[in-house]
Every structure is written in C-alpha cells, then in structure tokens.
Amino acid sequence: MSNSIFGWLTIILRRDLLIAFRRSATYITPLIFFLIVVTFFPLALGPQESLLSSLAPGVIWIATLLASLLAVESIFSEDFRDGTLDNFFISLEPSFVLVFAKVLIHWLITGLPIMAASIIAAIVLYLPFDSFLPILLSLILGTSFMSLLGALGAALSLGKSAILSAIIVLPFSIPTLLMGTSVITSSINSQDYFGFLMIMGAMLAIGIPLLCLLTVEALLLNYD
C-alpha cells in the first residue's frame, strides 16, 4: 500500500513539475514579483540603513505572502478543467495524497525560489548576516503553510475568479505573517526566536493533515 501511494505521489510530482518547468512563467512570475516589491522599498524610501532594516521583516513577509498567492489559482484549475481531477477521485488511491502532492509542487515552484531570493532581499534591506538563517527557517515553515492555505483557497474558488482564492487565503495568513516577522525581528535584536519557529512548526504539523483533508472536501463540493 505504501509503495502504491509513493508511486502515485511520484507520478503526480513528475508530471506537474515537468509542466511547470515547460511553462516557465509559473515559477518566474512569483520570484520576479517578490524581488520587485522588495527592491521598490529602498528606491522609495532612500538608502537609510536603519529605516530599511527596521522595515525589512515586514517587507520580506508581505512580499512573500503576496508572491506565493500568485500561483495559487493554478493549483487545481487545469486538472479540474481538463478532467484529470475526475480520474484522481475515481481511482482507489487516497485523495489526500493528491492534495499533498499539489501543495508540495506549489511550494517547490513558489516557496523555494522565494527563499533563494530572500537572501538578495536581506542584502538589499541591510539585514545583518546573522539574520539570514532565521529568515530561511521562517520562510521554509511559513511558505509551506501558505501553500497549504493556498490549496484550500484554490479548491474553494475552483472555476471562479482568481482573486477570490487570494481573498479567502489572506485573512488566514495573519498568524504566519506575525510569527514570520517576529522571527526576523528577534534575530535582528539578538533575541531568542526559537519559540516563534516552534509555533510556526506546530501550525505546519497541524496544517498538513487538517488543511489537506479540508481541501479534499472542498474539491468534492465542486462536483455537487
């Protein structure tokens, strides 16, 4: 059974990553959007080191949240339109695996590039070198949780306006925003940030089963 599930997960991952790489806009657009938003701040506010570094945690996290929402609508829409989703639900494999694979793909094509770009953002916003690791750790946990929330938003707004999924997801991303910015702020002020990371980790640990199951139910609503 576990081999069967792993085989299914591998097929979905291979197929969707291949499609994503052949449609480069899927992963380039969130990355460019993130970099544009982050670099606009020094341009608008001027190169004042103390001002930029104090704003940096909020800037990085708001840019991350908005950038990760750009590809949310596409998580299930193509599979729903072309009938692939029907076959996933009809197969005897657990639908949970499908949703988990889709979340993982969304994270790989949006969360991972944003994490890489966050180092450039940290340099542009005059953040100290010591804060790079906490930024990456908070982004790993935060962007993964955003992908889970995004999948739920995408499932609830399937076949409807793309902006609807962003409206559904953004209010629920506030805890991630608060924890993520707190991690970076604490590291800048040389304070302990592990507590915030642990909360983010707990949110992710609860979110993986709970949000995947809710997403399965939300997807099935589209058939009724």
Partner: protein, 199 residues
C-alpha cells in the same frame, strides 16, 4: 454469472428538478450498456453518480468484490473518460500516457505497445501540436494501460472520423472478449452490441 455492478432505483435531483428517476440495470462481465439521451438529459450525471463523484438522491450502487459479495464501495479500479480527455498540452504523447496514475509501475514497452495499438507513432510530439482526433487516440490508448473491469466512457463516438470510430468499436469488442464491460453514453445508438437505456 454475477454482475460486476448493480444499479438499483437510482434517482438524481438538481435544483429541485429530477434529472433521472428509478434507474435499474446490472453490468455483467463482457457486457456493454449504452445510455442514450439528448443534451442535458443527465447522461454524464449518471456516470458521475455511479462513480461516486455526485451524490444521488435515492437508490443504491453495489459493486461485486473478490469474494462475490456486493458492497457499496468499490474494491477495483474502473476507467472513466468524461467529455474532457485529460490531455496535457505541455507533455508529449508518451508522457501523457506514462505520467497518468493508471501507468503506475508499467514498463515503457507496455506504453509503446498501447500507443502502437491506437496508431500513434509521433510519441515525442507535444500534445499541443496534435489534432483533435490524435488527442482522442491518446485517451483511447489509456484504456489499454490496465485491464479495467468496467469502462465508463462519456460519448466515445463524438467528433470522430470513420477510422477512429472503427478503432474504438474494434477495441470494445476485443476488451469485451477479455471480460471487460463498457458503460457508454451517446445521443443515438452506436454500432456496438449493447443493452440500451434511454433517459
């Protein structure tokens, strides 16, 4: 011989309007059922209700298991092909077959053989460059990936030329002899030997 599927008193209502009521039929191994009806008569809804994608208002759908008991849940894979073919434009012909969940664990040779049987030789072409007929042939090649007990095919003969129609008819006959059953929909009766239900 026991049927693989029993549909009893199946009714479906949407927006307070009955789409179909009290449908009864059995699907025996090697038998074809053709559901005939005009546009909007509920043919697709019926297939989706049987497969569990839509909740029917009344009735039961029971599947035969390996121990010859009838259950409300299915223990084997069925094949479903709706109006949309599930073909990905950015994948090649080969990848469109190899990267579907039914191809899990299959060797490349098996995929090549399936494509050969439906007359597709341009296996490295992107699906976006194919004609409607060739895309339909990819979806037909998917029928052959595994031995499914029951195939649920929504309007298999729509938008096909004579050659493709003959290919499907031939494949249905071949699969019937292997004990596979087809539940198909259509606007008018096809040439395939089938029990017909009008809705």
């Amino acid at each position: 011989m026991l049927p693989n599927l029993k549909v009893e008193n199946l009714s479906c209502v949407r927006s307070e309007k009955a789409i179909f009521e009290n449908l009864n039929f059995d699907v025996f191994p090697g038998q074809n059922i053709e559901i005939i009806g005009s546009n909007g008569s509920g043919k697709t809804t019926l297939l989706r209700a049987i497969l569990g994608l839509i909740r029917p208002e009344n009735g039961t759908i029971r599947w035969l298991d390996d121990d010859n008991n009838f259950n409300e849940y299915r223990t084997y894979d069925c094949f479903y092909q709706g109006h949309q073919l599930g073909i990905k434009n950015l994948l090649t012909v080969f990848e469109n077959l190899n990267l579907t969940h039914n191809a899990k664990g299959l060797k490349k040779e098996k995929i090549y053989k399936c494509l050969e049987r439906v007359g597709l030789s341009n296996i490295n072409d992107l699906a976006s460059s194919l004609s409607v007929g060739q895309r339909k042939r990819i979806s037909i090649a998917r029928w052959l990936l595994k031995d499914f007990k029951i195939y649920f095919i929504d309007e298999p003969f729509s938008a096909l030329d004579d050659e493709a129609t003959n290919l499907i008819e031939r494949l249905i006959i071949e699969l019937n002899t292997e004990g596979c059953s087809f539940v198909m929909t259509g606007h008018r009766p096809s040439q395939v030997n089938a029990s017909r239900i009008e809705i």
